[in-house]
Symmetry: C2
Subunit: 409 residues, 2 copies
Amino acid sequence: MSIVVQKFGGSSVGTPEKMKRVAKRVMETRQQGHDVAVVVSAMGDTTDDLISLAAQLSDDPSEREMDMLLSTGEQISISLLAMTLTSMGCQAVSLTGRQAGFRTDVAYSRAKILTIDNQRVLEEFAKGNVVVVAGFQGVDERGEVHTLGRGGSDTSAVALAIALDAEMCEIYTDVNGVYTADPRVVKKAQKMDEVSYDEMLEMAVMGAVVLQPRSVELAKEHELKLHVRSSYNYTEGTIVKEDAKMNKDLEKEMIVVGVAHDLNVLKASIFGVPDRPGVACELFAAWADEGVNVDMIIQSGSPDQRQDISFTCARNDKNKCQKVLSAFVRSLPADSYSLVDTMAKISAVGAGMITHTGVAATMFRTLYENGINIDMIATSEIRISCIIDERDVNKAAVALHTAFGLDAE
Amino acid sequence: MSIVVQKFGGSSVGTPEKMKRVAKRVMETRQQGHDVAVVVSAMGDTTDDLISLAAQLSDDPSEREMDMLLSTGEQISISLLAMTLTSMGCQAVSLTGRQAGFRTDVAYSRAKILTIDNQRVLEEFAKGNVVVVAGFQGVDERGEVHTLGRGGSDTSAVALAIALDAEMCEIYTDVNGVYTADPRVVKKAQKMDEVSYDEMLEMAVMGAVVLQPRSVELAKEHELKLHVRSSYNYTEGTIVKEDAKMNKDLEKEMIVVGVAHDLNVLKASIFGVPDRPGVACELFAAWADEGVNVDMIIQSGSPDQRQDISFTCARNDKNKCQKVLSAFVRSLPADSYSLVDTMAKISAVGAGMITHTGVAATMFRTLYENGINIDMIATSEIRISCIIDERDVNKAAVALHTAFGLDAE
């Protein structure tokens, strides 16, 4: 009897009705003869409600107490799902992260899973139970509760699947799988049958189907196949695996597998920075201290030995950027700074890109022909991204999807 | 530096505002130089909300999963109270039942505390922390979460005070202490300065100030003083201790210390039961199986060798009683049964009663003179209780309070 790990996010269990649908799905998998471990997140808005409650009581709650608070959300979900399963005649038991053997490092609000002791889960399988495990949480050596950070339940599910030597980890979501572009924007976007770990990593980071990047890295490291699929129907979703085959519906020579866009872009610039060693280092150390996750960086020299530095980050880091930049303009000193939150990022992704030329050329020409100005450019081995005006982003996504031959017929 | 354990119930922490008031109270005690452990219940309606959520998903949820679910309520409270304290400048840490060392037996929904390992709490004291402990919960040997049953936080607080060798356990409530009768009904009721464990046990069972009876038994066994007091003011409350002195405001010869009444009374009767050995045993075993807690019992013979048996229990056991009684009427067979839910219980309580005669006489005469009919009578060493019509209960309480010399001047 093979082991299947299924992960359901907070929106899939947001109401009693949805919880029952998830239970039905789990029970069907059990009835097919599999041992089933289910990882669930907190119901719907539970986490946000708890955060808002905490905000009423403390301006700056400690991360330890926030983890103590937020980990209750998953504990509520698992007990409710286990009792729903049992009431449908499917024997089930709920386990907290601790009970399921999740040991983490000591890093409140962003812990990493160190080990999973699978003994208890296997014992429950032996008793014939479906095991419902709280995602997003574990305990450190001392028994202190830690959460894994936003999207942590994906990583819980993948890590559990690895610990149980499961063949597959199913990630249930509200779309049919991973698409060549966001289907809400690009009408001709196609669902991919397969996608490689590396491509998924780039897609995940850029927000197509959102999987926590760490979960994809972990799956890659252990060659665990992921099946991203809909919790609303039985359509096959997208398999995430090493060296994914070309999708059968797509041209053989296809090297770009998807187009991703991201509106959550803030462009920050500091002008007239003195050109002396260590300045860039100082700047980015300051942003790291503030917890600002910097994405793209551009540094451009000018004739008078002073430089302009621009970078992008998430829009909700605007206040932190303002604080750091205004301090640096005074202390360096530099000429001035600017913050622009009307930009977006458009990216072409594909593992084949590394051995093919011409992708960048196609991308820039397509944007040019559509009258779209490129503000910044960044590349990785399997991705090219451009920062453009947010008003142009939908047009750019549609045009690039066509230009790279991704459109459905 | 002496150790103080304080217990706050769910209504005391029901809103962020109330939570802040509790935090202020705790901080003041800390500032007086005590090591403080605070036991809190789930906020306001949290427990009822969780129960109703479970009811939407399962007709008969397992007690294990209910304990998993309900124990989150206290975990939310402790983290919020700890962060509130910290934000006020009072160093604090929250501990779940497990983390605070509460080991229980295996009995979901009604576990008993076996031991408390006080090491972690003492470590946190040594670091200068106020320790906020989740009441109502603990874990068994395997790490399974158990709750202690309704009112279990009282027992958590008392057991923790004993484990920490605290001098006193303060139980905060929404009245000023234990009264000679319910002050909402008997205007001349007086707050008692002291009351004995045994008297408090009878008062608690009968619903004056509601303390979980087990908490009082435990305090008695270890001679731990309890201070029942208001969370809304700084008035001294009532000390619960062994051999309480007569209250200074009351007459020396007082033997009855309080009058208690209880409207939650269902009277069940079965008529024409065959008079053969073992019938009563069968009947009460069936009620025990259904989890019906039987209070008073009366059995009366009749000339034709058939008997009538009546007993009282809580009103919400009506359906269970109906089920058991209708089955017995058919199987014994008996003549018929009845269920009456318009009765109430009125009681006189006092440790001195055991050495004094005339208390029963005073009680029956007073009820007679006020035109109140007595339906059933039960006595213990320190209590006399009568079942009367619920419409007469307020009149009875006021009259008995006067008759036993308890009225405030």
